[in-house]
C-alpha cells in the first residue's frame, strides 16, 4: 500500500474526511504521475489543445463537387465561452434552449459548466467519431489533438 493511500485511510479512520472524499482522494492519487498503487510511474497523456471537426460531403450535384469543412477550435476558447454563457440572463438561456429544440437539438444550456467541460475534454481524448453516410457520401470526424 502506498504512503499516500495509507494517509488517506488514516484520515478516514480518524473521521477527518468522509468516505466519499476519501474515494475521490484515492482516485486522484492513482491518477497522479508518481502515485499509482503498484508504485510504477504512469505517464499521463498531455491534455489536448484543440477540438477538430472535419467534414467531407458530396454535394447534390455529384461526386466532383465536394464540400470540405475543417474546423479547429482551441479548448481554451471553449472554456472561456462556457464561462461567458454563465453571464447570459435566464430569459436569454431559455430562448436559446427553445431555438435549439426547434432545430432538433434537445440540449439544456444551463447544464454546461466549466467543470463539466473539463470532464468532457478528458473523455474526448481518445474519441474519434466517424460517420460514413452511403447515400450522399458524407464523412464526419470529431476528435481532439
Amino acid at each position: 500500500m502506498s504512503e499516500n493511500r495509507k494517509q488517506i485511510l488514516d484520515m478516514l479512520a480518524a473521521g477527518k474526511i468522509t468516505a466519499d472524499e476519501a474515494e475521490r482522494l484515492i482516485a486522484a492519487v492513482e491518477r497522479a504521475p508518481n502515485g499509482d498503487a503498484a508504485g510504477a510511474t504512469v505517464a499521463r497523456k498531455p491534455l489536448p489543445k484543440y477540438l477538430r471537426v472535419v467534414v467531407e460531403a458530396e454535394d447534390n450535384h455529384g461526386a466532383d463537387t465536394m464540400t470540405k469543412v475543417n474546423i479547429r477550435v482551441p479548448f481554451q476558447l471553449l472554456r472561456a465561452g462556457v464561462k461567458l454563457a454563465n453571464f447570459l440572463p435566464p430569459k436569454a438561456r431559455m430562448q436559446v434552449n427553445e431555438a435549439l429544440r426547434e432545430k432538433g437539438v434537445d440540449f439544456d444550456l444551463n447544464q454546461i459548466k466549466p467543470e463539466n467541460l473539463d470532464e468532457l475534454i478528458e473523455q474526448l481524448q481518445d474519441m474519434v467519431i466517424d460517420i460514413d453516410q452511403d447515400k450522399r457520401r458524407a464523412k464526419v470526424k470529431v476528435f481532439c489533438e
Binding site: M66, K68, N70, R72, P74
Partner: protein, 86 residues
C-alpha cells in the same frame, strides 16, 4: 497567449479571391494605454466588491486570448471561407 494575426480569405462563386491579413498585435498596442488606465479601476472594484464585480471583463479577455489557434476552413463548390487566428 493573445492572438497576434488574423487571416481571412474568401472566395466567391466566380472564384474571385481576396485575402486579408489583420495585424491584431497593433490593436493590442493601441489598447494598451486604455488597459493601463483601467487596471487601477479594476483593482479597486475587485478589492471593494470581490471577483464577481470584474468577472465579465476577465471572461471577455479569456475569450479573446483563447482565440489563438482557431481555424475555420470551408471549401464549397460555390465559394470558400478560410479564417485563421495565430
Amino acid at each position: 497567449m493573445i492572438p497576434l494575426w488574423m487571416s481571412i480569405a474568401v472566395c466567391g462563386e466566380r472564384r474571385k479571391f481576396f485575402r486579408l491579413w489583420l495585424p491584431l498585435f497593433l490593436l493590442w498596442i493601441l489598447l494598451l494605454p486604455f488597459a493601463l488606465l483601467a487596471l487601477p479601476v479594476i483593482a479597486i472594484l475587485w478589492l471593494l466588491f470581490g471577483r464577481s464585480a470584474v468577472a465579465k471583463p476577465i471572461v471577455l479577455w479569456q475569450v479573446f486570448a483563447g482565440m489563438r489557434g482557431t481555424l475555420v476552413d470551408i471549401d464549397h463548390p460555390h465559394g470558400s471561407v478560410f479564417i485563421k487566428i495565430v
